[in-house]
Amino acid sequence: MLRLSLIPLGLLVLLAGAMFWSGGAVERRADFTFINRGENKTLDLGVMSWMQDIRLAYQLWEGLYTLDPKTLEPIPGVADRIELSADKTVYTFHIRPTARWSDGKPLTSGDFIFGWRRMLEQPGEYTYLFDYLKGARNYEDAYGKWKEALAAWDKAKRQGSKPIAPDFGQVGVEAPDRLTLRVTLEHPVAYFPSLCAYIPFFPQYEPCMKAFAQLDSTGTYIASYDQSFTRPPNLVSNGPYALKEWSFKRRVRLTASPHYWNAGAVQSRVIDQIYADDALAQFRMYEGGGVDWLADVDGDMAADLLDKGRKDLHLIPAFGTYFYDFNCNPTLPNGVKNPFADARVRRAFSMAIDKRPIVENVTRTGEPIATTYIPRGVFADYVSPPGIAYQPQEAARLLAEAGYRGGAGFPRVRILFNNDFTQHGEVAQVIRRQWQQTLGVVLDLEGVEIKVFGDRLHQHEFDVCRGSWYGDYDDPSTFTDVYKSTSDNNNPAWKNTAYDELLERAAVEPDQHKRLKILADAENLMLEDAPIVPLFQYVGRYLYRDNVQGIPLDARQMIMMQSVKVDRR
């Protein structure tokens, strides 16, 4: 019996040991605690593109321009004096002498050049934004070609002369001295301050990255950086906060940087971003008081909170649209002739959707029904085109005109969606049923995991699929650029030369009013040709109590946490 009782005893000893091994110490409560949208993917400015990461980047870094904490309009950031030439193509930025990196070293114009150069030499998601810089596009292309030539030279046993790298001097950015940065643009860009306040234009600190550089096979250039430079204590940033701790999928802790030029204005000294995956768990943590701000309340939960009239739920029409893409290639992935290659069919399918049940029964948080791709009213002075309304009879007529009367002869197509959120499946069910009833076509649903979804989207391996786009910066082109023929994100593979030409014209148009008109024409052209059906405008769903001040209710859903204050009394 003694021996037997040793078993539970041994188990308990093991358990105690394991608890000691896994437990964490209790620490000081942060001044502001929040749950971000999803898990952080990266804190490398060069490859960043997810909203949750960008939110953190705004706390860690500061650009030449930054965002006003209340209005989120661009205001001067680390540059205190900015001069613009008469032809509006040359910006001269004077960097504040008091601007410092979080390790105390002064911020210089060279840090900007380093960061921007890296964006061109190691192109990422947002490299196209640098196309406005004089010579940047050329340099990027030349550099890419040089990399290929170098690899070819290496493969050919290094015969002949080594290819010579293109000269960065051709790019319109220079540093006359340590605190001055001169930027020359291809043509006037009205929203250049907005771009400068956006993450790819932030400075990057070479000394903290140097040790993590990974050279190419010939040892000539830096191919990439080992991403561990983004983890504390390696990461050095120049914003109001420094990265103190990053526990995997548990917590990110930011502390006020003592070297920030405006450190006195920082309200919350310590900020915790807590990670929670499950919607109910998130909500319970908030209700328990451990979390001050839920940045992305689950849709179902928000709908119920709205029903109950909860005052701490804040809904903001967001900078993003939920839509469906039609594959516009001549054939479908299975080799059948693609009916959606005919614009009449796409228009018919667009007209056949009654969007009310989607926002009233599925999303349920007052999402505005969308007929346009660019959310209405988020850009001042931009007049949205009407888009395609719900017209079931006209839809049936158009489909018959295209040769599929009552759906006869229409191939059995599939709606593709990612199944990590149940709402995508519910929207697809509603639409499938409506198309079936209004048009007489039979469809299947195909829910796949997000990884497969992404791959298939890029390879245009779908018939119809769900899609969404969030704007990045304060100009309609952040939406319209997506459907350029050359765009990587043009998932429907829709190619329209008239559209491309309009966008080219808009890009060089100096007059802002005319520019917006051209962009509106482009959007109208696209909506009428219907490669996508807009369904609804996203709604941002925040949850925070009265004692939290300084969270702007803005469509872009950004936040400057140095102005956030939580009254804990």
């Binding site: 919607a279 109910l280 909500f283 319970r284 209700e287 689950d298 179902d300 939960m301 119920d304 909170l305 029903d307 109950k308 909860r310 299975n334 009310r356 049940p357 009233e360 029964n361 599925v362 349920r364 002869g409 191939p411 059995r412 599939r414 199944n419 990590d420 149940t422 499946g425 519910e426 697809a428 069910q429 509603v430 499938r432 049923r433 039979v442 299947d444 649903l445 195909e446 829910g447 995991e449 497969v452």
Partner: protein, 332 residues
């Protein structure tokens, strides 16, 4: 959810018996009757309602969306509302009835695959013995060590795409009369769950074959020069029916639970088709939400699920007693 099964004690299964005695014990076993009866009732309800649950336009149709009846709590004024509705206004009764059929077919299909594989491996290993036995049983050991969740998901993901394309190509005629995605989806669920559920079966059957092989009547068959095939089919297999039935019955509930787990992950059944598991996992966030608990969304599918699995477990345990009279003493 787990693939664990209580330790098998294969040697105890009866070696040979007249079918008369067996039947008498089946009828005498209260658990077999109770489990089987409830199961049969559920199965009949699901099957009998099929004409309504699959007829587009009928209130019980599994995809009968009704925006005006979103999230109604259960009420008695119309059959479709007996168990309430979900957010799209689907009748939960209709969806539960069809969902039950799909859940049960996934369970039975997976069990069938598990039985086929497990019996084959078990018989080959037990009967041939030697290095083949060692190899097969060591592989079973290794497979036991693999995290089966990961295997199910990997099987599901790796097989679903190719199968969908295969099914789509197999359509004949101009009318596309069945859904390639749903067919592939269901098939791959059988396959994935079945492929990870055969291990216990293989072990049990091998043990049973080993103990049978050494018994005098098989030795006698050998001695009289009967062909191996005949020995196997006429003398060995009938004696394996007992354990096969018991473990097949116990594999069905675990397969159904595994499907519900896959639905929870979002890689289970494809909407709009329902299963009990997918109904429960969809209903979770709306049912257990502290703001507005719509309990029926969880209670209805879970009751169906629990009652069915309970009766399957009862049936399995009861059958075990029927085939293994000595176990009577240890009736669980």
């Amino acid at each position: 959810m787990t693939a664990i099964a209580p330790e098998a004690t294969p040697e105890r299964f009866v070696a040979a018996e007249s079918s008369d005695g067996l039947w008498r014990r089946v009828v005498a076993s209260r658990r077999v009757l109770l489990g089987g009866g409830v199961l049969l009732a559920i199965l009949i309800a699901c099957l009998a309602s099929l004409p309504w649950t699959t007829r587009s336009g009928h209130p019980l149709y599994y995809d009968q969306q009704n925006p005006q009846q979103s999230l109604q709590s259960p009420r008695l004024n119309s059959v479709a509302l007996w168990f309430g509705t979900d957010s799209l206004g689907h009748s939960l009764l209709g969806r539960s009835l069809l969902g039950g059929l799909i859940s049960l077919s996934i369970g039975i299909g997976a069990a069938a695959i598990a039985v086929t594989l497990g019996v084959t491996v078990g018989v080959v290993a037990g009967y041939r013995g030697g290095w083949l036995d060692a190899l097969l049983m060591r592989s079973v050991d290794v497979l036991y060590g693999l995290p089966y969740i990961l295997l199910v998901i990997l099987f599901k993901i790796a097989l679903e795409g190719p199968l969908t394309n295969l099914f789509a190509r197999m359509q004949w005629g101009s009318e596309h009369w069945y859904s390639a995605t749903s067919a592939a989806n269901l098939f791959v669920l059988f396959l994935a769950i079945g492929l990870v559920s055969w291990l216990t079966m293989a072990r049990v059957i091998r043990g049973q074959v080993l103990s049978l092989r050494s018994q005098p009547f098989i030795e006698a068959c050998r001695a009289t020069g009967l062909k191996e095939r005949r020995i196997f089919l006429r003398h060995l297999l009938p004696n394996l029916i007992g354990p096969i039935m018991v473990y097949a019955t116990l594999t069905v509930p675990s397969a159904i639970l595994q499907e519900s787990f896959l639905s929870f992950l979002g890689v289970g059944i494809q909407p709009p088709l329902p299963t009990w598991g997918s109904l429960a996992s969809e209903g979770m966030s709306k049912a257990l939400n502290p703001i507005h608990a719509r309990l029926w969304l969880l209670v209805v599918p879970c009751t169906f699920l629990a009652v069915t699995l309970l009766s399957l477990n009862f049936l399995g345990d009861g059958l075990r007693d029927v085939f293994d009279p000595k176990r009577d003493a240890a009736k669980i």
